[in-house]
């Protein structure tokens, strides 16, 4: 035995000094990449506080930060707060609708049995295979039949539909992970279906709900193409569409600082949400049900 192990190559463990250097190198690389990744964000935030003169002043411009761009932004078109409110309403409406519809469907698919259930589940996943960019033209016609074009409600409905396959998938999995004994016990105790959902299941499926809500909110907040097509009145524009008008000078001569302020205003809520709810966002990714 000992002869054999003496012949086999010893596993090479780096010496303590080498290990330290490796770790330092690892940190060094990680920090350099972090700087590269965060520079556009930091630069944009700083630039959004610079008027045209400060922007041209290089490093000295950093000493001249002011709120001019944000003031101007609030004077463009209906004002940034108005568009931000539109975006917020669309995002919240999408979130609420998606969560409620997907939770009900998830429960039905995981915890009940009805004829045709398997078929319904597959059918609900089908939209996942068709990129929504492909059906915007007929969707526009359908919305106009229901008098839902040029309305935030119409946009919310479209977004909910796009979110549903992912949301139903996540919620079904959440319900499947809850042991059946729980529901059996609660039913024997005489709980109604509503009590069952809210008091028994809700605490256990919160991670799934948070994941779905986060994706729905971020999608509703930042989607551009559908918002561009379905909403045509300036006062109903969402933030990404309104910024496009700012860029093409529809609200007067383009001032890049003001555009930057708008982009930062659109970005900050996403970053804040992500920092607090990161766990749930990454959970959705791990499920593999993402689109870019």
């Amino acid at each position: 035995m000992s002869a054999i192990s003496a012949e086999s190559p010893r596993p090479r463990h780096p010496s303590p000094a080498t290990a330290t250097w490796l770790r330092l190198g690892h940190y060094g690389i990680a920090i350099i990449i972090a700087v590269i990744f965060i520079t556009p964000i930091v630069w944009s935030i700083l630039r959004s506080f610079q008027d045209p003169l400060a922007a041209r002043a290089g490093w000295e411009g950093l000493a001249r930060l002011n709120l001019d761009n944000y003031v101007a932004l609030n004077g463009a078109g209906e004002g940034v707060l108005h568009y931000a409110m539109n975006s917020l309403m669309v995002a919240l409406g999408t979130t609420l609708g998606t969560v409620v519809i997907a939770t009900l469907a998830g429960y039905a698919l995981a915890k009940t049995y009805f004829p045709g259930q398997a078929l319904v589940f597959v059918a609900l996943l089908v939209p996942f295979m068709v990129p929504f960019q492909g059906i915007l033209v007929p969707l526009f016609m359908v919305l106009s039949w229901f008098k839902l074009t040029n309305s935030l409600l119409g946009l919310i409905i479209v977004y909910i539909t796009f979110m549903l396959p992912f949301a139903v998938f996540v919620m079904r999995n959440s319900f499947l992970a809850v042991p059946d004994e729980l529901e059996e016990a609660a039913t024997i105790d005489g709980a109604s279906i509503l009590q069952l959902l809210v008091m028994v299941y809700l605490p256990l499926i919160v991670p799934g709900v948070a994941t779905v809500a986060l994706y729905a909110f971020l999608f509703g907040w930042s989607e551009l193409l559908a918002a561009l097509i379905f909403v045509t009145t300036d006062s109903r524009f969402t933030l990404p569409v309104a910024l496009g008008n700012l860029q093409t000078s529809a609200y007067g001569k383009l001032d890049l600082g003001v555009l930057e302020a708008g982009a930062v205003a659109a970005m900050i809520p996403c970053i804040v949400l992500f920092i607090f709810l990161q766990r749930y966002y990454l959970r959705g990714l791990a499920a593999g049900a993402v689109k870019m």
Partner: protein, 316 residues
């Protein structure tokens, strides 16, 4: 069948004893609850997906202006599509963009995953920073880069001037290679976090023993990465490839905002062209035909993604 759902178990007498046995009142009630709860989702699916899908096909065989008379044109929209130089150019450009953008994102995403997969004291922070661009929305990111790329005052020129590579006015969006390079990099910056997380999850699932065994066999770091890690993240690789390819093929925001399709229409993507035909020129029928061609190309990729996804959820 040990994985019956609660509902299936309650309904099992009917399943096992054939259709002749009537369901108990409890089973009937539960079936009713299930059907009722799933119906809102089904209604949305039918009204805002199935109906538009059918209409998409129907419209593609018609000359369909926004206002005015709709007329049946047989396959002429499709014939027009195949001789439409602008659509051909858009598909060609979209393909080139996808071919450049995909390997860039896969390589960077893979590299980042290697950096963040080992738990160091600050790994969580690094992961958050690398991932942050993913959540800010392509539109917001694109507007930011419009300002950053501005000749003279933008960040790009500041960096290039600092490096001594320019006199301070780099006209990015009017120069095709430069414009494409920049959009590829912006897209990568914006999206690689997703690839990173998927790769990282795949790498962390590899048992440590395999690395120990490879070490005993005398494999160095590169050997272990090449012979152990790479083959074992195949599924993550497939997922990342599909997401990146479909995402690149559907690119719209970056080009609509940063290059606006220029210089002279050479960076118009497929979706941007379909949007232009449909909602700027209002040739809705023709736009529908183009959209069907695009969807047909992408459905195949998405079917693969769905298969991976179901396999994952079964494994979990």
């Amino acid at each position: 069948m040990t994985n019956l759902t609660l509902g299936e178990r309650l309904a099992s007498p009917r399943v096992s004893q054939g259709a002749g046995v009537r369901a108990t009142p409890l089973q009937q009630r539960r079936a009713l609850v299930g059907a009722a709860f799933v119906s809102p989702a089904v209604i949305f699916l039918v009204l805002f997906f199935v109906l538009p899908m059918g209409l998409l096909v129907w419209m593609s065989f018609h000359n369909w202006p926004l206002l005015g008379r709709v007329s049946f044109v047989d396959f002429r929209n499709y014939e027009a599509a195949f001789s439409d130089a602008a659509f051909g150019q858009a598909l060609w450009f979209t393909t080139i963009f996808t071919l450049i953008s995909t390997p860039v994102q896969v390589l960077i995403g893979y590299g980042l995953a290697i950096v963040v997969r080992t738990p160091l004291r600050a790994t969580g922070l690094f992961r958050t920073i690398y991932f942050m661009p993913v959540v800010i929305g392509t539109a917001a990111a694109s507007y930011m880069f419009v300002v950053m790329l501005q000749p003279g005052t933008g960040l790009l020129d500041s960096i290039l001037t600092f490096l001594g590579l320019t006199d301070g006015r780099t006209p990015v969006v009017t120069n095709w290679p430069l414009a494409v390079t920049v959009v590829v990099l912006v897209t990568a910056w914006k999206n690689v976090g997703t690839a990173m997380i998927i790769f990282m999850a795949g790498m962390q699932a590899i048992p440590e023993d395999l690395y120990e065994a490879a070490k005993l066999d005398g494999a160095g770091w590169f050997g272990r990465e090449w012979f152990v890690t790479l083959p074992l993240v195949k599924q993550s690789m497939a997922l990342v490839l599909i997401i990146t390819i479909t995402g690149s093929f559907l690119a719209f925001d970056q080009f609509w905002i940063i290059t606006r399709g220029g210089p002279s229409g050479t960076t118009v993507t497929a979706v941007l062209w379909i949007y232009t035909v449909g909602f700027i020129r209002y040739r809705l029928g023709y736009s529908a035909a183009l959209a069907i061609l695009l969807v047909a190309m992408l459905v195949v990729a998405s079917i693969f993604q769905l298969r991976i996804l179901r396999r994952r959820s079964e494994a979990a």
